[in-house]
Symmetry: C2
Subunit: 144 residues, 2 copies
């Protein structure tokens, strides 16, 4: 469904959001521990998210990654996924035809549209604040 890179990117973003809400910056080591991911690889993905302007990085001593407090609720999961996996999840054909095209549908097109609709709904209507709050309250988990 999502690439490993994307899974790590989503979980890292949530962990950063949890901490940024409390004014704390975090570094790749902490992040990788909290989301159970390979540290250096995770750091690379964080770079992508910084370049996509979804998170901020601060170099040097006392630096780390953070998200602007009043941005947290504005960042949708879709933006993170798009920054890492592109939008094949939105536009790609379920059976790999060059394009998903209503007028030239693959055999599963009609039902696949429903799957994609549900996924789109998940990605478009979920923001980092909601996810951070659920982590904070212990309603959901980032690892194991």
């Amino acid at each position: 469904m999502f690439s490993k890179a994307c899974e790590y990117g989503i979980k890292a973003s949530i962990f950063i959001a949890v901490n940024s809400r409390e004014g704390r910056r975090v570094n790749p080591k902490e992040i990788a521990e909290e989301i159970d991911s390979p540290q250096a690889f995770t750091a690379k993905i964080l770079q992508d998210l910084v370049r996509a302007n979804l998170i901020n990085s601060v170099k040097g001593a006392y630096g780390g990654f953070e998200i602007n407090k009043n941005e947290i609720s504005k960042i949708k999961l879709s933006q993170i996924v798009r920054a890492i996996d592109g939008d094949r999840i939105y536009n790609g054909c379920g059976l790999g035809l060059h394009t998903c095209d209503e007028t030239h549908p693959c055999p599963v097109h009609d039902k696949f549209k429903l799957v994609r609709k549900e996924l789109k709904d998940l990605l478009e209507n979920t923001n980092l604040e909601q996810l951070a709050l659920n982590i904070k309250s212990g309603a959901s988990f980032l690892k194991i």
Copy 2:
């Protein structure tokens, strides 16, 4: 979503079904042409499907791949996907946690369940006969 191998496997199965309905065996060369896939790789996937007892192979001259006429409507997409990609699509966590567990959910678990439900519906309630008929009638396509 599905692996390339699985995409090829699904499309190949449909093409075989279309032809088996008309009493015709097909070989990897034809199949690869009709579904626009690499021939040798497709042949490997066909072997998997044979081993999973979803399609039959006949060796030697005038051989090829076929599906028992009265099996065609009984083969569900889920069986093909399971034979090639396993059942991570059914049981896997959307964010890569070790297991998808109601009592230890990842941040997207609740909404991801709906996506999976839709996908399950697609896979469980679609059989090769329906798909073959749609190809035959020109309502759907296996390539481009």
